[in-house]
Symmetry: C3
């Protein structure tokens, strides 16, 4: 903080388990990655190299090093995991993670059908060596998952070894926990959070309105993901109540009564 103000919510320092931000890099150059860490490293816990971009990123090892040296954990998007799995190449995928010395790995089934039992086995196997983030929810708006399934899948994936379960929203924020207009599916989200500890969930929330909604609903230290690199600082102002949308969230009642 460059200057202090009273009534800002407390934010844990890194490494933290609450108040996480996961950022999606879908093809930054080395210098853009350096720019990013110079402004946002302290606010960023995980970088996801989105979907299969890591296959075609120049200087991939160097970029991973830039992020890791800045204290950010890096992982490949779950779609890449799935691309290896449908090709029956899970072992090669493990070797790839190892070769690039990644800290974390995502296990997902957003683009493919996978027996949930098998998904949990992948999580278990990978969690022996890596931080596992597993994602629940389909990228396809037409695949219906009941609230019960959301919850039971999250629970069993956490039991299998996931560090956090990610609630799917895509880069667009229009599927999974959101309706097609981008609005939060409140009854689903509330039912999930009544059964799964909030600190174990990372909600994908690419749009500002979604980020503000989660902060107002669950507080400053809700875990949020699929943040665009150039929105990380703006997200932090939402968490701190220093942007219009959350301006009165964290101040005492007397201030609220007087000015809201």
């Amino acid at each position: 903080m460059n200057f202090n103000l009273p009534y800002l919510p407390e934010r844990p320092a890194k490494p933290r388990i609450n108040g996480l931000a996961m950022v999606m890099d879908k093809g930054l150059s080395i210098r853009e990655a350096e720019n990013f860490v110079s402004s946002s490293a302290e606010l960023t816990d995980f970088i996801k190299l989105g979907f299969g971009t890591s296959a075609i990123t120049n200087n991939l090892e160097q970029k991973i090093k830039v992020y890791k040296q800045a204290g950010i954990k890096v992982y490949f998007g779950g779609t890449l995991f799935e691309a290896f799995v449908i090709r029956n190449m899970f072992v090669s995928y493990m070797e790839l993670i190892d070769k690039y010395q990644l800290d974390a790995v995502e296990v997902s089934d957003g683009s493919m059908n996978m027996e949930h039992q098998l998904k949990c086995e992948y999580i278990g196997k990978l969690s022996e060596s890596y931080i596992v983030l597993s994602e629940v929810g389909s990228k396809d708006a037409e695949v219906e998952i009941t609230n019960k399934e959301w919850i039971s899948q999250m629970q069993s994936e956490l039991e299998a070894g996931s560090f956090k379960v990610i609630a799917e929203a895509r880069e667009s924020g229009t599927v999974g926990i959101y309706k097609s207009n981008g609005k939060a599916d409140i009854s689903l989200i509330d039912e999930i959070s009544s059964k799964v500890p909030l600190e174990n969930i990372l909600w994908e929330a690419p749009l500002k309105s979604q980020q503000a909604w989660f902060i107002k609903h669950f507080g400053a230290n809700v875990n949020l993901g699929n943040i665009a690199p150039n929105e990380v600082i703006a997200l932090e102002t939402l968490r701190l109540g220093l942007r219009g949308d959350t301006f009165f969230e964290f101040v005492p009642d007397d201030i609220r009564r007087k000015y809201q």
Copy 2:
């Protein structure tokens, strides 16, 4: 200009009082700020460090210096002013502006209730030392302000010492002078401009369609704000009639008759 063309509207050089562009920086790194000034400094009059981002920007003094040395005036977003005011810390805010040697300051009440008389006192006090930009309009779409109130507030704020009054639109361009679909509220805008000198108003216009609308409605040198850093050059082509939307705005009638 790299090459010349007839029938381009005249654009005043900096420092200017008409044809201003105010750009919103919501967290650029130092190098990104340098990139910005290398391409867009001559086209940019003011940089707003959006809402409370300046509280958490690394190397804030250095970034302010980059902008100031490029001839751009810098100020903190009005939400930060309001965050200090509701905490009864206006004096600290003045010290902060002074510490960072800012040229300008924004006085707004977009997120809070403030007696208009008090707002004008803040404007008067701050205008003794700084260029004051004061903003009219609520960030909350449900707060209704009559056309008369828009006008009387703008007039009294200019009398109190504001250099320009800013017409609120947020980063999204969907409140204040715009309807929720982003379209300009023409009757409001026309009534304002019939009573307040156009050169004293800076219209927030984050979307291209809004920028084009204002240029067609008020000419190339209308003052526009909340421009994204990477849209400043594109905005200038709209002002010059070098983009489709304003292609025939500034050419003689015979050309228009022949080709439109």
Copy 3:
């Protein structure tokens, strides 16, 4: 490729005539242009300096050199060509192209009325010295062009010397070959592609949903344009089937049956 996977569609190397990407630069600084080429040069065939931005770009010669040295062909947006033509300054335009040593030139009539015969003459004249990309379709949603006219214009422009014909969509992707909601006009596109060789067409497709649609409809090596600089790598993952939208496009049937 950093690592290999079976069943990825083959992508031709540069210089290629199929699978092209045309990127729109609407005002990058030199360093941003350098960042772009460091990550995306191999994936990019043409850079369009959008509409009239080249008139006001600092260090324009240097930027063109950055792109050319990275093996990317550069041209000015068609709106600039039209701005010269309505001013009766076509000869000056030729001199300008020559002065900046551009490889390519766009001939369009998206903002103005032009006899199609005359357009073809411009194409013929310019194709003696440059690669000509000519654009069909109006930027104005209210100008109606029949399917027949789309086809006959494309055909005669190719005969006149165009390297590719570009199907208009603007930066927004809401006119020309798209409906106002951004969805592809399938019957128009299919009728065009039944009469004009696909490899001769470059489809403007600024939105991800549009890029995915064309890749699913015409395959990995469809020519696409108006790609934003920071979306080039993401586009390549769509072409390779390494993003959700095209995940099963290129894999064998038995994999599709098992996992889709």
